[in-house]
Symmetry: C2
Subunit: 342 residues, 2 copies
Amino acid sequence: MTGIKKATIRDVAARAGLALGTVSRVLNDHPSVTPQARKSVQEAIKALGYQRDAVAGSMRNARTKMVACAIRDFDIPAFASYVKAAEGVFRRAGYTLLLASTSNEKDVELALLRGFAQRRVEGVMMTMSDEADAELAETIAGAPMPIVLIDRELLPDVDRVMADHQSGAEQAVQHLMSLGHRRIGMIVGDPAAYPSRSRIAGYRRVHAQRGVAVDEALIRDHALSNEIAFRETCALLSTADRPTALFVAAMDMLAGTLRALRSNGLQPGRDIDLVAGSDSDLAELGTPPISALSWDRAEMGRHAAEMLLDRIRDPQPRAPRCVRLPVSLVVRGRPYDGLPRR
Amino acid sequence: MTGIKKATIRDVAARAGLALGTVSRVLNDHPSVTPQARKSVQEAIKALGYQRDAVAGSMRNARTKMVACAIRDFDIPAFASYVKAAEGVFRRAGYTLLLASTSNEKDVELALLRGFAQRRVEGVMMTMSDEADAELAETIAGAPMPIVLIDRELLPDVDRVMADHQSGAEQAVQHLMSLGHRRIGMIVGDPAAYPSRSRIAGYRRVHAQRGVAVDEALIRDHALSNEIAFRETCALLSTADRPTALFVAAMDMLAGTLRALRSNGLQPGRDIDLVAGSDSDLAELGTPPISALSWDRAEMGRHAAEMLLDRIRDPQPRAPRCVRLPVSLVVRGRPYDGLPRR
């Protein structure tokens, strides 16, 4: 392509030697078109570099070939992996991806859904800040386009892709208890959303199984940024009876916790044991390397994109689908060599 | 908002007690509208939850209120920061951001530009894989919408935002030379694009100033992924006269190099000195922490978004603008305590 060509549908008709209506029928995949007419139009389109106006075209047949993805924050690497995988699936299917960030705020989520509907976006992949919010739930369930929820569980009629975060949290806490820890601090996000709610459930379940009482002060449940993870870790470390291990369960919050440990003069693996709730370069390449929970984020993005394309292509009502991906613990670093120390 | 309302412009006119044409003039910001009519229409819109169809609206006035950003890869955290900042600026201005990844391939870049034009995207922020490619240059210069280039220099007529990567590379190499190193390996990206080209120029300049001959075998210039950075680092380490220090200049490639060092049994700061070309949690929180080049990526995103909005709002031809952000070296970790060792 050199420059943007300006050939019109009239030019195509003239070059193909066909009536305008015939060209229009070819462009709209009308069944009454002969193979010969289709071939002539395709050749003329190619020769002239004709580009159909996507906005005008979408007015006629209500297909914008756009899908949208609303995520909490662009700069969380764990989200980027699934967006990247989803975008690959959409691109191969001829769809353009619109990406927006919500800052995990209900008002932004509602405004985005409204904007997507106005732009006739054909499908949306999203999370929701508060699964118990009736207005959000009603808006999502009643949206004019199919929606696939990412890591949310409370809208049973909507397709969704989730990771098994409760199992992950259970593995993390089991691991730390097997190293001798009984006071395990937990840095986690808002329980209004499935991932944090299920991680807290897993933490409690292992404590109950082992007969260890849960000290509620050890669960810090509103870490949505590394700044908050830093502050919450400092708060946990400043208590008289501080935890001997930390489960940094919130997504991509390990950096905040590591900064807090460093500013308190503590070294992971020597002074305190850690498990990260989501694997990262930082966990893998730390000294010592840090154990972390892992699931296939690219697979999550691919599943979500494929489910959405399925609904777009076949809008007949069908039972909602749920894909649940396994979470596993990657054990790293030297084992803690004794009982908790101060 | 509960659900997506279906009120029409006729419902608005009926409720406001005004003619359809008056309502249409209010919606299109026509100057001949009385304040009273505007108020009645606004009240009716609010009461009915009327939503103007954005696609139909954009047909009339050719404004889609969409801008696009094409980046090499979603999962490079350094790119995410500037996209996030740009998206904030666009959102506050009422624009929706379309995001696409190019895999650094010319064909994808051309296809995306074509798609953006067809969708009447009002402006584009992008890089380009090869600044010397005539077809890409012509397509960008002749695009029907304004374009802001990110970290590219060779199209003087196009607005652009860049970081001063040559100065950054000079600081990195100066620092390593001041620690006693003379054989400095460089892991860098493709010199077809400005950032890598200017980093290599900076590397050469400091060598010339210090009278140190450049061993071309030490410059590995096609690291576009952590997998390649891993392989290139291994290659450098396997040579008979291996480098005593590494400048990992490619964007966000430190993880690949750290994996290679670990698999070769080498520790940064003890066995080899490192400077990372872009700062990250991994550089800051490593043991020892790793010196890194830093520039304000959020500022880069904000500048690019504001330049683009300026061009969209005022399409009169004006001299192209270039914002160049400073790059500085964050020195970290214990200094290398002697001359190069093996």
